[in-house]
Assembly symmetry: C2
Homo-oligomer: 779 residues x 2
Amino acid sequence: MSEPEKSENIPDESAGKGKEIPNGGNPAKTKEDFDLAAVYVSDAQYNRNIYFDTSPQAVRLYLLYNHWLSKVLLYFFILLDLSLAIFEEPAVFSLPIWATMLVELLCLLAFTIRLVHYAKVIPRDKFWKDPKNICIIVTLMLTLVDMIIYGALKATNCYGVRWSRVLRPLLLINVTEGRQLRRAFRSIRNALPQIFYVFLLFMFSVLIFSLMALKLLGKRGLKTIDGAPYFTNYLEIVFDLYVLVTTANSPDVMMPAYNASFVFAIFFIVYILINTYIFMSVFLAVVYNNYKKYLKEEVRQLVRAKRHKMARAFAVLQEQREEGGELVVTQANWNQVVRLVRPDISNAHRELLWSVSDDKNQGSIGKVAFVQLADLLNIEVITLKSRPHPLHSLCPAFYLSAPSRLLCRIVQHRAFVIVYDLIILVNAVFIGLDEENPMIANSEWVFLALYLLEILLKLYVFEPRAFFSRHSFWNCLSTSQIISTRFDTIIVISALIATIVNSAMKSSGGYTSRQILDIVFILRVLRLIRVVDSIQRFRAIINTLIRIGPMILTFGQLIIVVYYVFAMLGMELFKGKVKFFEDPNDPAKAYCGNPLLKDTAFAQLNYCKNNFNNVVSSFILLLELTVVNQWHVLSSGFATVTHISARIFFVLFHILVVIVIINIFVAFVLEAFFVEYSVDKSDLQTSLERKIEELELAVEQEKMEDNLVNAMETIDNDLGTGQSPTANKPSLMFKIASKRYRTVDALLQRMFEADLDPEDFAENDDQNGNFANPTFSSV
Amino acid sequence: MSEPEKSENIPDESAGKGKEIPNGGNPAKTKEDFDLAAVYVSDAQYNRNIYFDTSPQAVRLYLLYNHWLSKVLLYFFILLDLSLAIFEEPAVFSLPIWATMLVELLCLLAFTIRLVHYAKVIPRDKFWKDPKNICIIVTLMLTLVDMIIYGALKATNCYGVRWSRVLRPLLLINVTEGRQLRRAFRSIRNALPQIFYVFLLFMFSVLIFSLMALKLLGKRGLKTIDGAPYFTNYLEIVFDLYVLVTTANSPDVMMPAYNASFVFAIFFIVYILINTYIFMSVFLAVVYNNYKKYLKEEVRQLVRAKRHKMARAFAVLQEQREEGGELVVTQANWNQVVRLVRPDISNAHRELLWSVSDDKNQGSIGKVAFVQLADLLNIEVITLKSRPHPLHSLCPAFYLSAPSRLLCRIVQHRAFVIVYDLIILVNAVFIGLDEENPMIANSEWVFLALYLLEILLKLYVFEPRAFFSRHSFWNCLSTSQIISTRFDTIIVISALIATIVNSAMKSSGGYTSRQILDIVFILRVLRLIRVVDSIQRFRAIINTLIRIGPMILTFGQLIIVVYYVFAMLGMELFKGKVKFFEDPNDPAKAYCGNPLLKDTAFAQLNYCKNNFNNVVSSFILLLELTVVNQWHVLSSGFATVTHISARIFFVLFHILVVIVIINIFVAFVLEAFFVEYSVDKSDLQTSLERKIEELELAVEQEKMEDNLVNAMETIDNDLGTGQSPTANKPSLMFKIASKRYRTVDALLQRMFEADLDPEDFAENDDQNGNFANPTFSSV
């Protein structure tokens, strides 16, 4: 099948229907067999590693379990459960207790159903062995118990604490199939012992320095800026020096000593060098090193699990063509399975995938080739149909006339992009100027008109379906084009609508809606982004940043879990202690409604709104603590209104979030960049590309990436105007989706795949059962 | 030579003297040949890559050039030159202009002599091709010109600026053979383009967000905490948001908007996520990646240069044993050279090295084996002589008596260490308590007595020469022992002396010297460090930290260069603008002697001593800016007393020091940790170890490191008491020096050595001349 003609001689449809053709004594595969194989392949493709029952009923239930709708529902209920914090006391929007309780019961019911569903899918003993499930059951029970107690207490007007709210994020981790999130938690847990030892050493260093500071500075009768004695209490010194590690009280903590003599500055310099710079870097190094180590192990397991699933699919489909021959999968069976797994891909695309697998053109493939299928399915291949522009079909005489062709050439020219970039820059200056000026206000209409003209011109030149279709456009044009089309089109049209609405309201009632104006301004400013993306240099950086995107979502979840727990704790500990008064004339505003705060830095800096009075302000406060600066003022504020030991809450938060989680985040960004630099080409990807090239149906990916502008113009010609000299190419083209949208995870998997023996199908891993990282499945 | 007996049969001395033995027609090597070869080997050993003339005279000059005394003198003059800033206006200790000028002229003369010396050593054309030399000459000339102009201006009472002071650090970089420092500067320079692109993207993001902030928040009439309009001036917003990236003004900059509505917090959250977290991590990733890339290249070049030098040494010494045979170096010649290179190593040690090189025992070695010599010489092998304890020789009856032996066993027991660790912890608590209490004050004598007892006991048990000798003790005992002996002995004895002096002064005059008390306290606290090192878990971390040590010196120099330049600039720009008043009652103290600072945060926070009025306070101020927190207050303070554009100075400093240099520092720490984790055993090291084992003279290094305490006891027995059952071992033992003190640089070199072909002697690199990284030799 090395020549394209041959592949056309075998009609794909007949090959697909050929499942009933008897093969040398092999029993014909039943529909159940295909279903099972399809489930295995799909599991391998999406890296699911659930060890389900193979009975047809369980397979059907498993399919339902993995259905996107059930997953969306699950996420909806988790979100609902978590967002209850907004309506429960202390609430942003208060709802009666019975209402929130009812919704929570509903959520618990949904989780129970999901768990029962899962129990039906996997064998009984596997279910009970998985700590994840035990964790869910315990969480659900505890929540129920807490709700009953709380309800009873409230009914009798007693004081009750809804302590089980802290457990809610556990459901986000364990109920969902959030592999990435669990993996992140596992890497944290695995890194903890090592971090702990460094932390002990670091704390030892802080304690030693504190002792030195007490001895050196405590007896000198120095005063802080508030007139308080300086460095006389050992615990205070420890806290102050811990804060100095976070740099939040630098240089204030040093000033009294430095004012006394510059020799004391040496003490602080040594302290900062050792604790702030060296130890903090060591924390990053330890976190990063552990992260890398466990990541490698986990990705290796993932790859093995995938192989194992594919080997099982092969076992279902395998047959012997001749006596004593190799076990193979025929093209007919293969087609049947691929059609079940991905009903959306075209016959031609499937044909292409087969020809990559069966590169010797034998009509059947062995185990090694079959196992690759999961990866092949993950490579997004785009089928491009070169269609003429609709105007070309409607009135070719006009569309092909000299002025029209000149216009097409102008729009496709590089200068066109540059001119529009310049227009945007001029626009940026205008945005910066005062919009009250009528000249400036009107100029916005001119810019909007120019942007609309650009969109219309592009629609005229390029094929509209290509312009709006899901894949082709994103990949055929350079990234600058993407932004200038998709993103920009949306922004320009929204800006147009918002500007019209705004002007209409202004002219009718004379009243300008602040909200609409805000949106207009933001849309205008966002438009400027496209300038950057049109510069080649920045694109490489932006590509990596985009690839980091999915990871940031994982870390978003991680942070939300930790924030949620601390917010719940914080709200129980500190709610109502610090109040914010909207009315600027309220005398209580000066001390946040708490006389204890009078004349403290907390009140003087007007931090009253940084409180734990509802879940939203708690989250914002925790974010401020994550950013670290002034966290000592915040923690001292809350310690003032409650007890000095309240600082423990803030220090714990700092250790967990800043030292551990933020370092893992940094480690991830570093790793993403290094993977980016080290993995350039993957074997599998290029074997598919080679095949595409062989089949002469390819648009050369490499050429496109290397020399974007030139390549683009040829492709655009092929696609849009259809007038290029290469019009004798077949009307169907395959192209591998842009590398831009490949995730770091996929890159990592491919990196480790190269290490593994292709003959290793991980079949002996079966005993371990679920593959779900048996030793550390739950948090 | 696989058996030790054999090696004893060939007396080393006769082999050494055998240089005149005629070898199959090869001309006898002259003294000049050996000198030249020795210089090559020594260059390779210390990684010097100067392409010197091979004439005997030049070689002699070159030896003088590399002499430690000339290097110490050079560093002395550089230090003198740099420290002139302390005495020049604005001075810490004012000296007349003629005095500083005279000293500076002396320094310039010293540098010129050094340069002329260098020019004599290397060929004329190489000298002029090296940009480093051009840089030195230009710097010297400019300094001279500046001095003349300044002197003339001062003589005529005109205002003059000593602008050439900024150039002084260039001498530190270029005049010294500070390979590491130049390498650090080169990695920075090489990383700059990439950092620059990320920086542009980052600045674009800041500008876009500032524009959005202006549009969103500028028109709402919000006020900052000072009552100033909030977010109305675009440039102010850019500065505020840039400061927010450094987190220094978080959450203050957000509070007015957040107080107005919590929706605005979203803007700041998105900003912090993108700019503070993602972009700052990307900076680290880019710096780290470039650092790694160039480091690899540089270390590879270093290794090649070393090979090249060794190949040249081989070319000098080579001879043909038989007609048409391989070119070899005979043991006699080899011995001669090694004796010239390292006159300090013993005959036995040299014998050992030879037997490692000539592992087939042929009496001569080929090129590949010869090239290894540089690395072999770098491996510190310690010759241990098992000597009995002097008391053992003096009165064996007493020393070998049962109580004495019991005492030895007790002191060598693990529990002894634990007991003393506990004593130290109790001591720590006592230090923390109030020393005015007479009980506590007297307890210090008890502790000192206990520590002295420990030292005496150890002296009794271990051989005193081993206790005080340079190497053996550091390496034979575990690290906890090192600290508990060397470091602790010094500290205990100093503490004893200081305490006695202190008590003497107290009892005589009733007056307690604060300085001596401070020293006593610091010494007491430092003693606590030894507890940590006795815990195995912490030792691995401490080992890496110790290994980072030399690197921190490099970065210290790097930082000093940058600080010096900025301090010189800052002193010219801001000297005398902000004054510090010692007298607390001076009314000018409240506004730092500058009415413009009245009611600014700078004056309110009492930052008056943070000024550019002399070089010491400038350095401390720059350090505070490096720590980042409150840098906006400092920069705004100096902008207030001069001009708003003064902020540029501070922003530039932030970009250069925090974004570039601190990230390189972090990259270095990370790399050091990863190298530590990845390089466990080096081939060369283990080949030597294998040989030592073979020769049955070895103390097993591995066993020692794995099972320190047990191994230690056996060794101690062998060493000290000499009574162990293994006393039939030869009285001479070799041991490889502890891995603890190997530098990261050495580890890196060994890593890359493994990549290089052992047959590749880099001989064709000769044309490139100096090997001194031709493309980027100067800053």
